[in-house]
């Protein structure tokens, strides 16, 4: 699914936008996604990328690339309310609106679970 060249980099936001559009158009899992939503999703995912690798190659940190959209929304709601304990994720979840979390979840769900490193 990933082409050669610059597109192979998952963190390349431009290409991620394209991937995200392609994935959501075909799956239509979470309603329509516009290019603007995808670009916004990529910017929000940049917050996650300080701790979680967006190519899914994490070591010791839970991987979020390709995570089910609903699972991510439910997890973030639990972190926000404190039902699920994590000091770091509590602060992150409180920082994001529910609408931002939904946009982010759509974006992450469209990423490959793991990307080959060049």
């Amino acid at each position: 699914m990933i082409a050669n060249g610059r597109a192979a980099s998952v963190a390349n936001l431009g290409c991620l936008v394209a991937l995200s559009i392609a994935a959501s158009v075909s799956a239509l899992a979470a309603g329509p996604v516009t290019a603007a939503d995808a670009a916004r999703g990529a910017r929000l995912a940049a917050i996650c990328a300080s701790c979680h690798r967006l190519d899914g190659r994490d070591k010791g940190i839970p991987s979020i690339a390709g995570m089910d959209q609903k699972q991510l929304v439910v997890s973030m709601a639990a972190f926000k309310s404190g039902a699920r304990a994590s000091q770091i994720m509590h602060a992150v979840a409180l920082m994001l609106s529910d609408e931002e979390i939904a946009t982010l979840a759509n974006y992450l769900a469209a990423l490959p679970r793991e990307t080959k490193v060049r």
Binding site: A7, I47, A49, S50, C51, K59, G60, Q87, H90, A91
Partner: protein, 421 residues
Amino acid sequence: MTWTRRKFGMLAGAAGIAALGVRAAKSAAKARVVVVGGGIGGATVAKYLAASAASIDVTLVEPKPCYTTCFFSNYYLAGMRSFESLTHDYQRLARRYGIKVVHESATAIDPAAKTVMLGGGAKLEYDRCVVAPGISFEFGSFEGYDQAAMQIMPAAWNGGPQTKLLRKQLESMEDGGLFVIGAPPDPFRCPPGPYERACLVAYYFKQFKPRAKILILDAKDTFFEQDLFQDAWNRHYPGMIEWLPGQFTGGIKSVDVKTRTIRTKGETFRASVANIIPPQMAGEFAQKAGLTDQSGWCPVDPVSFESTLQPGIHVVGDAISGGDMPKSAFATNSQAKVCAFAIAAALTGSAPGEPHLYNTCFTILSPDDAVTDSISFKAVAGAIRIKDIFVSQVGESDELRREVAQAASGWYAAFTHDVFG
């Protein structure tokens, strides 16, 4: 790039293709961003700008071929991590993101001509410039401490030769010796750093020089996460670490490298190894470029990180007057992303989106005992203020602390991947 554009072109049909042709001709003159400084701030800005818009040409100016992180260097001082594991090059930023990495020193900026001058004589033109100069030391704040003295009493507050020098000195120190840490006044890079250093050096001493002692001579009366550190010192290193606040000693007044002595107002301490972390201000390049105010730091707009003194030049990282934001690698990375998105929006005419500023620090008390702080920020009346803050508490379970310590190394791997590609 055009993968996206081509796709849209195909969807839009012939008329769309014609329109795209016009756009393609315009984009031949790409917007140019020059980033000065290849530390955490500069590398992050460069990467996220290059990834945000293909129509932006990004040049990263950094004289050194590699960057060694100061964060996690306390692990190296304790013999728990190699120097190489802390060192990162710029090859992936160039290869994966098409960033032009220029290994030269920037000597000046001409804000009127919008050019950055390089040591080799070349000039780089820019539409926007980002300066990420890190910190410099205020020599002269106490007698006897200058660049030369630093080679005997290292600061080791930038990752690099100073870090190696301090490790060498600690290794050759006799058992029963005194290790003195001079902790700086606020604001300074890495607020938990000097105290984490005491922890991890104590961990090393405990194994190899059990009679050694650590003395922290602080310029301050309190420090970040003080209760967590003092609790950890008592539990893990009883009787080994002494902390003297500024109100007891008046702070360091002078040092003598020949005798390795450190003087306060009323006392003289003879150190076996001395780690003097001097008072700090913005990196020298920021001062030369007219980006600092009388505080010694760079005032910036908290949403775009554009200098309030020099329009068109943005500053990120430890060098800024960050309000409530600590001078940490994580905070710098967060600022750099917000800055990159703001610049991309300004240059491409798109919406920048809501800025999110965040910081978390993993602080290591012993190999199986680590704590964190998690802080979100918001811009209030031109300044960065805390929104929410959560910090580890004294008395947490061993299991939780062990989990945090384990997460720390996973975080380092992911974070440096985020910064250097």
